[in-house]
């Protein structure tokens, strides 16, 4: 065939490697980069002095003998789960295990992690040791403590140097062995292995240093207790098991990923990730005690009616011959769905009706042969089944007996609210952005009003409104838990901001892309799903991740409406314990470290995602 394109490729051009960048010795590097001009030298010295002052101040704060670091160590359980009952604590560990298993499998299936040269690891360890040694000299330690820290720093630095030297020598030895490519061969280590080693070190330290073995319980004497040996109190055994579980899951995923079809496995894992939060929260942590009479008498019949009726309707709507009348019927279902809110009835009937309406509206896009139709109806049955099950579970009283409104608090509550808010507000925000850019005036107007209204109101107002006011307006017999109400309000708030981020992405899709999609005969829906949204979302990854970090951090406002999030516990609950009066500063510092770790991980994930989706872009 004609290979007209590679006219330049066919020419025999001898390959000239670029000149090697000269590798500077440390002293030369310092001179070239830090002391190149007199002005530069002054700047370097001044910044070094400022850094040293800040470092010394921080270190004298951290290692001051009057600091009550015991408060954080003893209250770790309070910070994580607040008053979750001790005898049911196994549920928390089961949830952790499920999340870790999913993490391990996903790491393997998505082939996460890269390889770094061992010499680089060695260099980093060496640098860490040097920094620790420097800090030790800065810190106001006693002589013996200084010696101990210096020895620790020397051990770390020595390990780093050994890695660096050892690998370098092995490389040169194999070079002497006569292998041609030995010059390019570098001993590498997987980042996953490095993380596993680091986590292993942390878990092992639990067995040596007893910081995870204390607990503080209000209704018990003595209230501060060390090593009672139960799953609830001692975390060393559970965390060891957790580490083994995540490592095992990674290996399992690695051995299975080549035998299973990639896309199907990934889709299954994604569904599992989406189902995990509600299932773990409402079935495992909350443990509803189902009333079988009610389940059989009310919940199952409602499910059956929607399954059969909705299935038949959707199977008719996805028939390619149905045509225009199908769209009218779908619109009628939507109107009926909204009308159900006018009269009192079970919430589940309304929710199911609205879900059926959205499935009916989307049906023409998925119209096709019998196989496509069967798949669509199966999708409906799956969504209906899962949501019916969850709604029934939510409406059933819990067996977990705790004081207060919600059965869990602390970091768990922060995560629960953040995850649910993000998961709910993403589709909502995308829909709002599409509505605001659509050509249909009613949708555009409604979306614009909603976004502008929500953006003009402080978040605290919305949280208070949803937690206090909304229950007053609800029809009789309908109840909305406080956390559920707050999540709905927070998700609406967040979706307005998200919509504006997505809208920026939508506007970056060029007119040519729209025209190309239209020119091959795609409908507006197909164009949006296959062409516009993928490109728009890719462009908006940085602002979207920034928004997610914001949502995660602003969950601390939950304290205002009386929920015990992690910051509130650190700021108010712990400093009021008689044993740890006035430990606010230590606790808040510790909690901000927790926030930083997760926020930083999100932002790293965003950078990786950008790199990955940037492939093939330009």
């Amino acid at each position: 065939m004609s290979e007209l394109s590679s006219t330049t490729g066919n020419l025999e051009v001898p390959y000239t490697p670029p000149p090697a960048t000269p590798h500077l010795a440390p002293r030369e590097w310092v001179r070239a980069n830090l002391f190149s001009t007199p002005f530069n030298s002054v700047l370097t010295v001044m910044s070094a002095l400022i850094l040293a002052t800040i470092g010394r101040g921080l270190l004298s704060f951290l290692f001051n003998p009057i600091r009550q670091w015991d408060a954080t160590a003893t209250n770790l359980r309070l910070l994580m789960t607040q008053a979750y009952p001790e005898e049911q604590y196994l549920r928390v560990w089961v949830c952790t295990a499920v999340i870790l298993i999913l993490t391990g499998l996903s790491l393997a299936v998505w082939r996460a992690g890269s390889h770094v040269p061992v010499t680089k690891v060695g260099r980093n360890l060496l640098a860490t040791g040097a920094v620790v040694a420097l800090m030790t000299l800065l810190a106001p330690f006693s002589a013996s403590a200084t010696v101990q820290w210096l020895v620790a720093a020397a051990v770390v630095a020595g390990a780093g140097e050994t890695l660096r030297r050892g690998v370098g020598m092995r490389a040169s030895a194999s070079g002497a062995g006569g292998s041609d490519e030995s010059g390019d061969q570098v001993a590498t280590i997987s980042t996953l292995t490095l993380i596993a080693i680091a986590l292993g070190g942390l878990v092992a330290s639990l067995w040596v240093v007893p910081y995870g073995h204390h607990s503080y319980l209000m209704d018990r004497t003595p209230r501060v207790l060390a090593e009672p040996g139960t799953v609830a109190m001692t975390t060393k055994l559970p965390w060891t098991i957790m580490l083994l579980i995540v490592v095992a899951a990674t290996f399992l995923g690695r051995s299975m990923r080549d035998r299973l079809p990639t896309n199907a496995t990934r889709a299954t894992l994604l569904v599992a990730w989406l189902l995990a939060p509600p299932t773990l929260l409402y079935l495992v942590l909350r443990d509803p005690s189902f009333d079988m009479g009610h389940v059989l008498g009310t919940d199952l019949p409602i499910f059956g009616a929607y399954a059969i009726g909705g299935g038949l309707l959707l199977s008719w709507l996805t028939r390619p011959t149905t045509g225009e009348i199908g769209r009218i019927v779908a619109a009628v279902v939507l109107v009926v769905g909204f009308c159900t809110f006018l009269t009192p009835m079970r919430m589940i009937v309304r929710i199911d009706m609205l879900m059926l309406a959205s499935f009916a509206l989307a049906a023409p896009t998925f119209a096709g042969g019998p196989r496509a139709r069967r798949r669509y109806v199966t999708g409906w049955l799956g969504v209906l089944g899962v949501s019916s099950w969850l709604i029934t579970a939510i409406n059933t009283p819990s067996t977990v007996d705790v004081p207060g409104d919600f059965f869990i608090g602390g970091l768990s509550l922060t995560f629960i609210v953040a995850v649910f808010t993000i998961v709910v507000s993403f589709p909502l925000g995308i829909l709002l952005a599409l509505a605001r850019t659509s050509t249909m005036p009613i949708f555009r107007l409604l979306a614009t009003w909603f976004i502008e209204f929500v953006r003009g109101v402080p978040l605290i107002t919305i949280l208070i409104f949803f937690s206090i006011m909304v229950p007053l307006f609800l029809p009789r017999g309908m109840e909305l838990g406080e956390v559920a109400a707050v999540v709905i309000g927070y998700a609406l708030f967040s979706s307005a901001y998200l919509a504006e981020n997505v809208r920026g992405g939508l506007q970056s899709v060029t007119r040519g892309q729209h025209e190309a999609a239209e020119a091959v005969g795609m409908t507006t829906g197909q164009k949006t799903v296959f062409i516009v949204l993928p490109q728009a979302l890719r462009v908006s990854i940085p602002p979207l991740v920034g928004h997610c970090i914001g949502v995660f951090k602003e969950t601390s406002l939950l304290a205002i409406i009386g929920l015990f999030d992690v910051l509130y516990i650190a700021r108010v609950v712990m400093p009021n314990q008689t044993e740890f009066m006035g430990s606010t500063r230590e606790n808040v510092l510790f909690v901000s470290l927790i926030y930083w770790i997760f926020a930083y991980q999100m932002s790293k994930a965003s950078m990786r995602l950008e790199r990955r989706t940037g492939l093939g872009e330009r």
């Binding site: 004609s2 096709g368 040519g512 190309a516 020119a519 091959v520 093939g616």
Partner: protein, 274 residues
Amino acid sequence: MTENPTEANPLDPVADAPADAPTGAARDLSGARDVIVCEDVSKWYGDFQALDRVSATIREQEVVVVLGPSGSGKSTWIRCINRLEIHQEGRIVVDDVELTNDLRNIEKVRSEVGMVFQQFNLFPHLTILDNVTLAPIWVRKKPRAEAEEQAMALLERVGIPEQAAKYPGQLSGGQQQRVAIARALAMEPRIMLFDEPTSALDPEMIKEVLDVMKTLAHSGMTMMVVTHEMGFAKEVADRLIFMEGGQIVEQNTPEAFFSNPTEERTKLFLSQIL
């Protein structure tokens, strides 16, 4: 491929014509059906009249090249034919379907009419293969395997089957435009519209795209081409249409058009470009 245009292609939507049938003035198309009929088509952008009572008829298997200085309305006209632009007066009938605001008619016409753009407009987030198969799978409801087989055959036909797994950004301009042609052909259109397909290309890549278009013309596709490539117009076109100021000034066979233009404005245009 270009040396061998007679290669039979089972996927060719209009392969019933002999592939080595002559194009250009030697061909007699008087008996063929009218597939595009424009009657007094007018369009305004604000107060500016972009199209002024354009009337023309294009027959089945005819290759029509539209010439004219920039701003003469040739792109606007060709984009009106699959309703990427909306004409305000007159009628456009494509394959017996009139273009009105009725969405079903527009979708029907668009699936019959393939379009190739100046800026290629490939979907940058999809591989070459996905670019070609997306519309057949979702608009024509073809099974994926069948669509992929057809896409590979089309990529073979435009000479770049080995690029199927790459992304558009990794291809040269000429290759991208050939993929765009394959993408349009995957919908098995009866008519192909080309809107300045070589204007954004480097000179050495123009030939590879024109060669693909020539093969397509020889295979009997009905084509309407807006271009500045006079060599292509001379060699392949059955008819040239010269536009200026939103009007059709002159239309004729290539020989008559270049050797013996009747209108003053045509003569002026030809004197500037030749």
